[in-house]
Amino acid sequence: MGDAIPAARTAAGGLPLLLHVQGVSKGFPGVKALEDMQLDLHAGEVLALVGENGAGKSTLMKLLTGVYTVDEGEFFLNGEPYEPVSPKQAQDLGISIIHQEFNLMADLTVAQNIFIGREPRGSRFFLNERRLNAQAGELIERLHLPLRPKQLVGSLTVAKQQMVEIAKALSYDAKLLIMDEPTAALNDAEVEVLHDLIRRFVRPDTGVVYISHRIDELRRIADRITVMRDGRYVGTRETPETTMKEVISMMVGRDISGEAKPVGARADREVLLEVSGLSTKALLKDVTFELRKGEILGFAGLMGAGRTEVARAVVGADKINAGTIRLRGREIQIHNPADAAKHRIGYLSEDRKQFGLLIEQEVNANIGLSALRERFQSYGFVKDKAMRATSEEYVGTLSIKTPSVAQTVKNLSGGNQQKVVIAKWLAKDCDILIFDEPTRGIDVGAKEEIYRLLNELAQQGKSIIMISSELPEILRMAHRIVVMSEGRVTGTLDSDGATQETVMHYATLRPDEHPEDAAEIGLTEPALSGTGTTNSEET
């Protein structure tokens, strides 16, 4: 297993490697997080580092940035031995890291965030706000970022917040930039912008370590791909000379069966949920769609198109201004998520930690939460045994990897946390499950399991709405795809005819400016289904 990296600390041309990791091991009580890890980063390249959750990527990055110290092995930076003792020291030596979760102050401006801790002073005690903004403006200019120094970070989109993080990292004059899952929260257009930025950053004397779960994008950005598994180095491939299938099988240590299309078209199935004319004050305009029994209905669109807002409006988490919701032909009123749950509609948020889980509580308490009053009580007393039995059953059927149902949820991996949320709604016996980015932050192997689970649920007659920013995922999973742009539905496609290009086309339509354009395309686009949800029929 594994390709041996020559022990040389220089690249082919005799230049020192920007970063050379040699035989690094790190253990924690009871577990070996890294063992004999190696990695080479040439100056001027983008190296992708991939591996499942728990493979040891984060540990390696923490060692590199001086958060932990190594047990064994060595780092070399530009050929010099490098033993970081603190994140500050790493930063001084030109190593910057952008964490998956941003370290930004929402109530401060872009400029204040970028130069936090290094604010230009007017005198000993007073800040020089003008110089701060000027410096930030210069930096933003140099990086061609669509930001303004005085914008409040809290008012920016996720993508722009990330740009602030990048600007901050580069303002330290970084030579080595480490990016941990930089695209986890971005849509495809934003990923393009980010990749542009990275390409501009990479010069002959700088390099990027790019950690990602989104295998599909590596081909577009990485020069080489290093794979790790279970704390060990598996191998490195030149991107043009490998296939993504190979990379994935290196990551998981086995072959992934790959492209399972959803089973059969469902046009004949009964319509379970009809949403029509749904509007909210903030964003949604006249959103209309239907969901059939046993169907996976994909919701595609760019960030901010309103997909999550549709889900939240349907389950009563946000107030609606207009529109009707019919369940099995009967109009229903949903004022809050409790009403939605009564009608057996469950919402699985993209942000599991904030909106899906009681992260500090047990698996058991989480699975039993929604169905508590219905299934696990008598006269107000909790039937703990019944609840535990049910939780254990779901741990089994969904193969949730946990030592017991008494385990605290925060100790589970992302994929298993997602399954706990699914179990919660299955325990409630939901007919309609709305998944918002079901595989966000979940590693490749676990993703496959979630996909399989979604297909199984659909086969059992559950109706699923799947909101996703990953087009290949939607194209692969959904029977039909609703595409949104700027709060409106701009197209509903059958997955048979849909391609990334057609979906992106509808996702980038500006419904307000070119309604006639949408209509025209609606008529000429064969992939459109005639369900009355396009702009052509609305206007």
Partner: protein, 335 residues
């Protein structure tokens, strides 16, 4: 902290160890709180010969009743991530209500007691409405209620104490001896209230939702639970305890003192916090709260016996709160 090396470890790598330790950890927490109580007890027993005897221990228990009762209800509120500042003056108001009903209106004692307790529930209901429906932050909502209750207590009593001298059965609620032995009823009331609270918190749907709201209110709501309704219920429950405390304090003093409640809320909150309940919500226990209340009253009693001035007692109590909460946090990080 010698365990600092373990603090930064990635979570996922401690899975196995943590799983086994979870149940043990909770028990350890209570055990340590209990151990501190014993330590304080032993200290005063050695420091003063007047401390450890039946009548003084009974006196400690007796003086725990009011703070303890308030702290029980507050435990629920604090576990939801809220706070209730109105419990002290609310208690005075309920005491006054009891006085107005029994002394001034001549209502039978039992009905007067029920009326006072229900009035406490009403205070809690209003708090709950303000917090859950109007979405006023609990600190502000109950701060306002604290002032309203203070004022109403003075208005209704014309700023003078109401004496229960003609209702000996009322005072016996607190000072009587139900089982003949020299053991005040008030302590039994607290014990029963504590057991009922513990059962509610640990065994009922209400308790489960109390924890889940405190762990993550938004996720709880999105799980199809009407957090609004349950928060109103929880504040109302805390209000019932305010009413009960009002009865207990006025029965003990044989009078409703309209102006004395202010300050009790902080003692009760201190008891809850010393008992290991997290002010950020999601964690806590009734056993801890009872131990916390006992620690406070033991300290007050012991320091008094050692003739330490009231002013210094407050200083010491303040330090105890800091030490207790810091130790609790350090313990949680270390495990």
């Amino acid at each position: 902290m010698t365990a600092s090396a373990a603090i930064g470890e990635p979570q996922e790598q401690r899975t196995g160890v943590k799983a086994a330790a979870t149940g043990l950890k909770d028990r350890l927490q209570q055990f340590l709180a209990f151990a501190s109580l014993i330590t304080i007890f032993v200290f005063f027993s050695i420091a003063s010969s007047n401390f450890l005897n039946y009548s003084n221990v009974t006196a400690i228990l007796f003086s725990t009743v009011v703070i303890g009762t308030l702290a029980l209800g507050t435990t629920f509120v604090i576990i939801t991530g809220g706070i209730d500042l109105s419990i002290g003056t609310g208690m005075s108001l309920c005491a006054v209500i009891s006085g107005v009903l029994i002394v001034k209106t001549g209502v039978p004692v039992l009905l007067g007691v029920i009326g006072a307790v229900l009035f406490g529930g009403l205070i809690g209901l209003v708090n709950g409405f303000n917090v859950a429906v109007l979405k006023i932050p609990p600190f502000i909502a109950t701060l306002a209620m604290m002032l309203v209750a203070q004022g109403l207590a003075l208005v209704l009593s014309h700023s003078t104490p109401i004496y229960f001298s003609k209702s000996p059965s009322y005072t016996s609620i607190s000072t009587g001896h139900l089982f003949g032995v020299n053991f005040p009823n008030a302590v039994l009331v607290l014990a029963v209230a504590a057991v009922v609270s513990a059962v509610m918190l640990n065994k009922t749907v209400l308790g489960r939702y109390t924890y889940s709201i405190g762990s993550n209110e938004e996720a709880t709501a999105l799980s199809g639970i009407s957090t609004r309704r349950w928060k109103i219920i929880i504040y109302t429950l805390a209000g019932l305890f305010i009413g009960l405390a009002g009865v207990m304090i006025s029965a003990r003093l044989a009078s409703a003192q309209p102006g004395t409640g202010m300050g009790y809320e902080l003692q009760a909150i201190a008891a809850v916090v010393i008992g290991g309940t997290s002010l950020s919500g999601g964690k806590g226990s009734i056993v801890g709260t009872v131990i916390g209340a006992l620690i406070i009253s033991t300290l007050n009693n012991g320091l008094q016996i050692m003739s330490i001035a009231q002013e210094w007692q407050n200083v010491i109590l303040g330090i105890v709160i800091l030490v207790a909460v810091y130790a609790d946090m350090a313990r949680k990080r270390a495990v």
